[in-house]
């Protein structure tokens, strides 16, 4: 198992290198000049120096290698410096954003908490809702609950977040006026009132993202439970005189969770993609919104870094899903 995990991680390196190259070359084609906003009175030689300071003006392959060096060596060193107060990365050039004129990572670190709060919370909420629905509708297949649940999850699967999000804004913010439609990220939770405010503004984005998660995972949970409920070992367990609760919730559930866990792991990166749209609707200034503004402002280092970080997440969670599958299912042998 360990060798398999190590092998997968080693194999991920060329994949990530290739992906970063694809993103880099795609962005190489981009029109637009980061110096376009600089006043015309600035002399050309100063402009040339500004260009160099931003890491431009060199051939493509050198810039690619430099970006890789900055991303994989300088930024982790900065992180270690920040963690332990050392000074390894002193004087090293970092990946600079063209629109903020500051290191990309600093901006990302500022934006990360908002995204993580909303996205991670909604994912957890979605899973917590999805699992009981899936279990119960499989246990009572073709009952009213199952029919309704299947229909609702199908609707949740089909309604895109940019409609469900706008719809809940119309209902709860515009018509009823209960919840704020804009996520206020400057809010600091210090007492009961601000905590309540934070809760109120998180309800809608979390609800919208959780609807998507719930729809997908409860469908998988139901199908997986149905596969297992007709197996012979279930009849054996019942024949032994085990209680219905322990038959379903221990024997069947543990076996049914195996594929569901991998689906949950695989869904983590895609939820970041979905967050791009949800953040746009609720005006959350998280990573997704950062990516959109960076694309609109032609801030290529920012686009490159954020996109690549999402790619890293995808590759990482693919490995996690495969490894988890091997850990939980003794029938799977990777070695």
């Amino acid at each position: 198992m360990l060798t398999y995990t190590i092998r997968r991680f080693v194999l991920a390196i060329p994949t990530l290198l290739f992906i970063s190259l694809v993103i880099f070359l795609l962005l190489e084609l981009a029109p637009g000049d980061p110096m376009a906003q600089v006043p015309l009175t600035v002399p050309p030689e100063v402009k040339e120096k500004m260009r160099l300071a931003l890491g431009l003006g060199e051939p493509t392959h050198i810039r690619f290698v430099k970006w890789m060096w900055q991303f994989f060596v300088v930024e982790p060193m900065m992180f270690i410096d920040w963690l332990f107060g050392t000074a390894w990365a002193e004087g090293q050039q970092r990946v600079l954003s063209w629109q903020f004129r500051s290191p990309v990572m600093d901006v990302i670190v500022q934006r990360m908490p908002q995204t993580l709060w909303v996205v991670a919370m909604s994912y957890v909420v979605g899973i917590l809702i999805a699992l009981p629905i899936g279990i119960y509708s499989a246990y009572r297949q073709y009952s009213v609950f199952d029919q309704t649940g299947t229909f609702v999850t199908m609707v949740g699967y089909s309604v895109p977040p940019f409609f469900s999000g706008v719809l809940v804004i119309v209902i709860f913010s515009v018509q009823l006026g209960w919840l704020p439609s804009i996520y206020d990220t400057t809010l600091v939770v210090v007492d009961w009132a601000t905590f309540k405010q934070q809760l109120m503004q998180m309800i809608m984005p979390v609800m919208v993202l959780a609807l998507q998660t719930t729809a997908q995972i409860s469908r998988f949970m139901r199908a997986s439970m149905l596969d297992n409920l007709n197996q012979d070992y279930v009849r054996t367990a019942r024949a032994k005189g085990l209680s219905e609760w322990s038959v379903v919730m221990v024997h069947v559930l543990r076996n049914s969770m195996i594929p569901v866990i991998t689906v949950i792991a695989l869904g983590v990166p895609s939820i970041f993609g979905g967050a791009i749209i949800t953040e746009q609707i609720f005006k959350v200034n998280g990573l997704g919104q950062l990516l959109i503004t960076a694309i609109e402002a032609n801030d290529l280092p920012m686009v490159q870094t954020v996109t690549f970080m999402i790619a890293v997440l995808i590759v990482f969670f693919n490995i996690v899903a495969d490894v988890l599958y091997g850990v939980f299912d003794p029938r799977i042998r990777y070695d």
């Binding site: 994949t15 992906i19 959109i292 694309i295």
Partner: protein
């Protein structure tokens, strides 16, 4: 004296009594028994008919501006109301639906052709299997939505110059969605081809000298049609949602060229004053995708011989 022996019962059988049934008849019977799939197909056909035939009977044009009738609510003249420039929302919904569905269909076809090609080649030729599947894995690890946004941003101007603003963006979005959504099809098709390749009828066909091309087109492809068809239906739904998401983020079709996502984006800007305006485009997208998903569900059951006939 011995009697003449009676012929064995089986030899006395008088041919099959029931009329022969074709495979597609069975598929249709199973499909019909799936209530959701049936309702889904009816709704989908109704939407497509309304969107493509509606403009023939509806008097208003999607781009006709009647500034004095702007921001109206529903009335007999304008059942869905009018927008901020006095354009009829029903006409715009129909025009938008045409684009959205056309994008969905074309992008799905492109993804399907690419996916089937890669899947069949990888499954059939052992030497191509490794490289093609690594390529598929690579594409699956790409962050698709950010890349789509970047692609649209980068190539919009140049394609607009060559093909004009509307055709240019149409080609761009179709190609972008197509080349980023062929991977699931390729994987499913490859798996099926790998299993089919070991079957006796392939061996028989090969032994009478069928060429590889003949094997693929005559024997392999017809047998992998059902997974391809299921992923086709889901592909349309996926493509419609992706196109709407791009348009919603303002990186899709230009403002004067309505699609459902674009209409939703326009409506969001007037959310405070006219919240009811977001309803129709959103409903259009959701209903189409929902009915397509139900159709895909029914089709999957109908095309699976293990489920069929139960």
């Amino acid at each position: 004296m011995t009697e003449t022996p009676k012929p064995i019962a089986a030899l006395a059988d008088t041919g099959p009594t029931a009329p022969p049934r074709s495979q597609w008849r069975d598929v249709w019977d199973q499909f019909r028994s799936h209530r959701g799939a049936l309702i889904g197909s009816i709704v989908l056909i109704a939407i497509i008919a309304a969107v493509f035939l509606g403009p023939l009977v509806w008097p208003y044009d999607a781009t006709f501006i009647d500034i004095r009738a702007r921001n109206q609510g529903p009335s007999w003249a304008h059942p869905f109301g009018t927008d901020q420039l006095g354009r009829d929302t029903l006409a715009r919904m129909m025009a938008g639906g045409q684009t959205s569905i056309a994008v969905g269909l074309t992008a799905m076809l492109l993804a399907l052709v690419l996916g089937s090609l890669v899947g069949v080649l990888a499954g059939f030729f052992r030497r191509l299997d490794g490289p093609l599947m690594r390529l598929t894995d690579l594409f699956l690890s790409l962050p698709l939505l950010p890349l789509l946004l970047v692609m649209v941003l980068l190539f919009r101007e140049s394609l607009n110059g060559v093909f004009g603003p509307e055709t240019g963006i149409f080609i761009l979005i179709v190609v972008a969605i197509g080349v980023t959504s062929w991977m699931p099809t390729a994987r499913i098709v490859r798996g099926d081809v790998l299993a089919l390749k070991e079957r006796e009828f392939i061996l028989a066909a090969r032994s009478i000298g069928t060429t590889n091309f003949g094997l693929i087109t005559r024997h392999i492809l017809p047998n992998v049609m059902s997974p391809i068809m299921v992923s086709a239906t889901l592909g349309i739904a996926n493509a419609i949602i992706t196109e709407s998401a791009l348009s919603f983020l303002g990186l899709g079709f230009p403002p004067d060229f309505p699609t459902w996502g674009r209409l939703l984006n326009d409506a969001v800007q007037y959310l405070q004053d006219y919240p009811e305006r977001v309803f129709w485009p959103g409903l259009g997208i959701s209903l189409t995708v929902l009915s397509i998903n139900y159709m895909g569900d029914g089709l999957r059951d109908a095309l699976d011989p293990r489920i069929r006939g139960r």
